[in-house]
Amino acid sequence: MSPEERAFQEKIDADIKIEPKNWMPDAYRRTLIRQMSQHAHSEIVGMLPEKNWLTRAPNFKRKLQLLAKIQDEAGHGLYLYSAMETLGADRDEEVAKLHSGEVKYSSIFNYPTLSWADMGTVGWLVDGAAIVNQVVLQRTSYGPYSRAMIRICKEESFHQRQGYQILLHMMREGTEEQKAMVQESINRFWWPSLMMFGPHDGDSPNSAQSMQWKIKRMSNDDLRQRFIDQTVPQLELLGCTAPDPDLKWNPERGHYDFGEIDWSEFYAVLKGNGPCNRDRLRTRRNAIENGAWVREAARKHAEKHNKADAA
């Protein structure tokens, strides 16, 4: 280990944040860029399954909430790309990698939203799982990432509560059809939400280094357990069930036991074979490609008028 590397690791061990101008190992930089760009892409792609119901939201209150939530996600994308750019990465280049399939986004957004209840479930379960991850990442070693996470977490918690309220309202004030809609939505999103934490620790080869660098701060399995433990009581309060016959409280472990995840589905979706992988990427690619003439016009206009101003 070089003296620089040693100094770097000592700072990390002492919980001192790494800042953009500090020396850092290339692999640390690359890993962070990859993780932050994936996170940013996920915010942007994650707008799409919600947008799917935006034009069909059932009343003003829900339509305003949903649009505001989607706006927040666009905002999170922007923070994260900015934070990522402090590492010398370029947003457009990273977006190109997304479009070519070289870099991924969270697989959860490859599942379709098929009923209004999904607007509740996505907020409650999907954002809920994201928050469990992100709360820990508030203490991540890279300063700009950590600060972005603090800001994002606040808004995400709000979204999660809002999502839960959508479901609670339907369960408490709703018709039988609406209650069935909630349960059906939970059935579809339960397992994919658990998959959001990634493979078992034993199958997650890069985790050890990330843990040492404090880019990652808890293992996949630990995060997943934490999510389940906090979610099951909320599920019970709703009066709904999870599609998992093995889910039950284990007083000895002080945790909920749960059934085995279908990892073949996880890897299939990751490989591009989820229900919406192609749609999501196509939508993003078309947006950027169809907008090329607009961005070009804006550049040209600025060029002309900067010249004019200078003259």
Binding site: M47, R56, W116, A297
Partner: protein, 253 residues
């Protein structure tokens, strides 16, 4: 038509135009040419939705038949909608979207400015709040018209076509009908003649800066939206927007 009926009509027109334009903008979410525009489009849609809710809430109170903003938005049919024809036109490309937005924003700005001085305090308050938001809308859309008009050859051509195509729908917002006149006389509604002059000056200046040609002054203008006669586009928009309340009557969401 008595003053209360005129006021109900007037509020529906304001609310419906905001709502339908917001709905068109919602369709664009996820499809903007850049992330910053994603934010901008969403913000404009949020503002318009909020304003629509305020106008329709008040409309429901004026009507006095127990309909709230949601009932008015989600359970009226096409013929009962009072939005301007311009806002129901489909998004087209980014130039089409911006041409529609700009011509509407310029009118909306001067209208809300006038309504901020309405003798009806509720209207004055909603207008004053909205005016702050619309000031930004107008700044953004006029900047884009200039940018695309005076950008590349391609963007210039697209922007010109967009203006030419939407122009026929820009007339009805400037012409007063019975309800408009009645409320103007009562000091409640705006003087559309004045709004028209302000709108024309703003549009002429913007198009000139954008190096775009303004369509002929005697162009034929489509009308009917304010009286509930729409283009064939609105029915499809409403079918989508109202699906849930229609499919689950009486459900609370």
């Amino acid at each position: 038509m008595n003053q209360q009926q005129a006021l109900f009509e007037y509020l529906l027109r304001l609310g419906d135009s905001d709502l339908i334009l917001a709905q068109r903008l919602c369709e664009l979410v996820g499809h903007a040419p850049a992330l910053e525009e994603e934010m901008a489009i969403g913000n404009v849609a949020l503002d318009l939705l909020g304003q629509a809710r305020s106008w329709l809430k008040y409309a429901g109170e004026v009507e006095g038949a127990g309909r709230d903003a949601d009932a008015l938005a989600f359970l009226r049919n096409e013929r009962e909608y009072r939005n301007l024809l311009i806002v129901e036109q489909s998004n087209g490309n980014f130039a089409d979207t911006l041409a529609r937005q700009y011509l509407f924003d310029a009118w909306h700005y001067y209208l809300l400015q006038a309504l901020s001085a309405s003798a009806d305090e509720r209207i004055a308050a909603i207008a004053a709040k909205g005016l702050k938001e619309v000031t930004y809308h107008l700044r953004r859309s006029s900047a884009w018209v200039r940018r695309l008009g005076d950008g590349t050859d391609e963007s210039h051509a697209k922007m010109q076509v967009a203006i030419d195509e939407i122009w026929t729908y820009s007339g009805e917002m400037l012409v007063a009908d019975e309800a408009d006149k009645l409320l103007q006389a009562a000091g409640i509604g705006a003087d559309l003649e004045q709004v028209k002059q302000q709108w024309q000056a703003h549009v002429a200046a913007t198009l000139a800066e954008a190096t775009l040609e303004q369509p002929a002054e005697d162009s034929y203008m489509q009308t009917g939206g304010k009286q509930g006669y729409h283009t064939e586009q609105l029915g499809f928009l409403l079918a989508e927007m109202q699906y849930l309340p229609r499919a689950y009557p009486g459900a609370s969401w």
